[in-house]
């Protein structure tokens, strides 16, 4: 178990700039992908008219025209679908890695992971029937949000998630216990990759569509080039003191490149994409819309 007193405190993931950026990001017109089975089931659900109105979401192709809120269309000129409580079939699931290893980097990889979850979840709230956030080890390991009105609640839920070390298999167990999974967006550092191989295969066998998200930090491809360092594994608390020179730096880069290949190969074997998001390409306090559009684009595929 990692020594929590030595770990850095989780950084604030959602700065004001990001919060102000998020609505414009959700307002993009790209279609958000959901699982095939869920789409069909959603079409069948059109026949059922029961349910409690819980909010609006943007109209997506295939939605039941009878649920269009024409009044809202008259006010805004945009097509909105009235969302009933039972109609959260067009959902996505976001699985978050809350382990201590997500605290590495500056800014922390956890910041990128939470922002990814916020963007994906926000898109799901705005354009699909809802989003399920799966965080094994948290106080509320499964949190379901429906309707764009719950975006603040989603952000607050993500902000309040603790740092907890769980095995990747716990994510699989939780996700597979749902009746509907939708597309699973798994946000993690996927290290070491061998710990994720069996969970990914299990998800594939159950037909889940998985997208791997890996928010990258500078440590992933640009290790230190010199100095006398104490390298600490935040999950196991193992550490080693090592003087870094050029030869070790080069070798370390080779090892990281090998790791990247292993991760990519692991996802290729299960037919899932692994997307690396360089969220720290610019200062996290000044996010740009363009930096997040790849997320939207990836969700639309």
């Amino acid at each position: 178990m990692a020594r929590r007193d030595l770990l850095p405190k989780p950084e604030e993931p959602f700065s004001d700039a990001f919060c102000s950026l998020l609505p414009s990001l959700l307002a993009t017109r790209q279609r958000i992908d959901a699982g095939v089975a869920e789409r069909l089931r959603a079409r069948q659900a059109v026949l059922s008219q029961s349910g409690t109105f819980v909010g609006h979401r943007r109209y997506e192709r295939g939605d039941d025209l009878r649920h269009l809120d024409w009044s809202a269309y008259a006010r805004t000129g945009e097509l909105f679908t009235k969302q009933l409580e039972e109609d959260d079939r067009r959902a996505v699931t976001v699985a978050l890695d809350l382990s201590a290893s997500m605290l590495v980097g500056s800014p922390q990889r956890r910041v990128g992971a939470l922002r990814l979850a916020a963007v994906i979840g926000g898109l799901a709230l705005a354009r699909l029937d809802g989003v399920t956030v799966v965080t094994p080890g948290a106080t509320c390991p499964v949190a379901r949000f429906v309707g764009v009105a719950q975006l603040p609640a989603l952000l607050e839920h993500l902000r309040s998630l603790p740092v907890v070390d769980v095995e990747p298999a716990a994510v699989t167990a939780l996700v597979l216990s749902f009746d509907t999974v939708g597309r699973l967006h798994w946000v993690s550092d996927f290290a070491p990759p061998q710990d994720f191989e069996r969970p990914l295969r299990a998800l594939r066998r159950r037909g889940a569509k998985v997208t791997g998200w890996l928010p990258t930090v500078s440590d992933d491809d640009a290790p230190p080039s010199g100095g006398y360092l104490r390298v600490v594994d935040p999950e196991t608390d193992r550490e080693v003191s090592v003087p870094v020179d050029r030869a070790l730096h080069d070798e370390l880069r080779r090892q990281l490149a090998l790791l990247e290949r292993q991760q990519r190969q692991m996802f290729s074997e299960v037919g899932a994409p692994l997307l690396r998001w360089a969220f720290a390409a610019r200062p996290v306090d000044a996010p740009e819309l363009a930096d997040h559009l790849p997320i939207v684009a990836a969700c639309a595929r």
Binding site: D219, Y228, R230, V232, D233, V240, A247, L252
Partner: protein, 526 residues
């Protein structure tokens, strides 16, 4: 094990500091990584190892430090209680010279003592007291080597048992080496070695002489004491510079009583040694049996006279009388002639005082100014203790005229005392083996030639002018009374002394060596 300066142990509190200093340097930068296995793989590929402290290297360093601290604190072994001082009482009285099988008791004691002292630990302070004869003390190495102990002789003037008892304490061990002779009791404590030297003994306790010098007659009275069984054959043998070379006189045995043997001898004219030996069969102590007389050669008494023209007949007559007494003859005084005695009466004598055998009466010596007449000196007196005038009666001496300033420096033997002041009338001038006697008046100006003491004074003057050349010496001292009868002695079984204590022994060098060894090992340890 104890410590001399335990306050140095405070330095051991620096051990944690040493531990901290021996650790490898800590990295100042901490890097959290999600790729710890990749770091490990890279280090393995580059054959890198993390700098780490070696517990064994620290232990070796700690051993070196502990060794140094304990060495500084003066670590030492605990002392073993016991004496650390040894007093040896060695009986060196004359009886220790008694021999058995050709070896004296003293030699046997000396050999045994030397062997035993070789085993005495080096830290023991050794004091050796030679008891008997002249007391000698030896300390330390001199005592261990028995340096210059001399030969046994003299009386044992101390009670060895009482002395050993008085010296005994917790720190002192006493060893006694004695023959038990002359002791009432033997020491009860400490080591004791008793050498049996009992046996018969005859001793010459005294020798009395009547020397006829310059005549050859010599009367010797030898006092013997015989401590032997009845009917022991005892004899006195004289040999050496006497006519006939040897004379033997058998003595009638009387146990433990003084036996006087009178011997009338004629000495050889050339002088030499005469040995007096008391002979007893089975005598264990031969050292007190012998006396040696050293006889000077007899003089050739050629007497010459130098007399002033108006000196009168006294000087030649006196010379004739003296020559007749000492069996000599009067020879003419010639320049360069060799004489035994020169008698000068008045006039001038060309001689140095104390450099020639001479008797001068009112003669002016070489280099002296004209003397001042001294008429009828009064209050004439003489030295009654001087060898020249002892026992002589000079009270009738009258001097009509004497001379002031004719006497050289010397010992006054005759003087005139007026008004509390002494003015010498005769002096003895002593030279190197030669003496001259000078009177301040001529014979004819006094009644000295007429006095009965004059021949004796003249003869004494003749003998005294020869000074030491006329002296007879006797070698060998009278044995102490307690060292004569050797038939009885206190005997006891010899016993060894107790073990000596062991002092504290410093272990500092061993701790330093251990520390250096640990540092040496550490130099090869990685």
């Amino acid at each position: 094990m104890s410590l001399q300066d335990p306050e140095y142990l405070w330095a051991l509190v620096l051990l944690p500091l040493l531990w901290w200093l021996s650790r490898p340097p800590a990295p100042r930068r901490r890097l959290l990584t999600a790729h710890f296995p990749q770091w490990q793989s890279a280090m393995r590929a580059q054959r890198r190892r993390a700098p780490r402290g070696s517990f064994l290297r620290f232990v070796l360093l700690a051993i070196a430090m502990v060794g140094a601290v304990f060495a500084a604190a003066g670590v030492q072994t605990a002392p073993t209680p016991g004496p650390d001082r040894l007093v040896v009482l060695l009986d060196a009285s004359r009886s220790m010279a008694a021999q058995r099988d050709g070896v004296s008791a003293f030699a046997r004691a000396r050999a045994a003592l030397l062997a035993r002292l070789a085993a005495v630990p080096a830290h023991v302070e050794v004091v050796l007291l030679r008891c008997g004869g002249d007391l000698r003390r030896r300390y330390g190495e001199s005592a261990r080597q028995l340096t210059d102990l001399g030969e046994p002789g003299g009386a044992l003037a101390v009670d060895l048992a009482e002395l050993a008892e008085s010296l005994r304490d917790a720190r002192t061990q006493v060893w006694v080496y004695t023959d038990g002779q002359g002791q009432v009791r033997l020491p009860k404590y400490g080591a004791l070695d008793v050498y049996d030297a009992r046996g018969d003994n005859v001793s010459i306790v005294d020798v009395r002489l009547e020397d006829g010098w310059p005549l050859p007659e010599l009367q010797i009275a030898v006092d013997l004491v015989v401590h032997a069984a009845a009917d022991a054959d005892v004899a006195v043998v004289v040999r050496g510079a006497i006519e006939g070379e040897q004379e033997r006189r058998v003595v009638t045995w009387r146990d433990s009583q003084v036996i006087t043997v009178n011997l009338g001898l004629r000495r050889a004219a050339i002088g030499g040694d005469v040995e007096l030996r008391a002979v007893l069969a089975d005598d264990v102590l031969c050292g007190d049996d012998v006396r040696v007389l050293r006889l000077p050669p007899l003089p050739a008494p050629r007497i010459a006279v130098l007399a002033d023209s108006d000196a009168g007949p006294f000087a030649p007559v006196a010379a004739e009388a003296l020559a007749d007494e000492v069996k000599g003859h009067v020879v003419p005084a010639t320049a360069g002639g060799e004489v035994g005695l020169l008698i000068v009466d008045g006039g001038v004598a060309e001689l140095e005082p104390g450099s020639a055998r001479a008797i001068t009466f009112g003669a002016r010596l070489a280099g002296q100014l004209d003397p001042e007449p001294w008429l009828a000196p009064a209050g004439i007196d003489w030295d009654r203790e001087h060898v020249l005038t002892r026992g002589l009666d000079l009270s009738e001496l009258q001097v009509d005229r004497a001379w002031r300033g004719v006497l050289p420096d010397g010992q006054p033997i005759l003087w005139s005392e007026e008004g509390g002041l002494r003015a010498p009338l005769a002096v003895l001038s002593q030279g190197d083996g030669v003496a001259s006697i000078h009177f301040a008046f001529r014979l004819q100006d006094s009644n000295l030639p007429l006095l009965a003491a004059f021949p004796q004074l003249l003869r004494r003057g003749f003998v005294r002018s020869y000074d030491a050349a006329a002296s007879l010496t006797i070698e060998g001292a009278a044995p102490p009374a307690g060292e004569l009868d050797l038939r009885y002695a206190q005997l006891a079984t010899s016993r060894p002394g107790s073990a000596f204590g062991q002092p504290t022994r410093s272990l500092a060098r061993w701790f330093v060596a251990a520390g250096l060894l640990a540092l040496g090992f550490r130099a090869f340890m990685r």
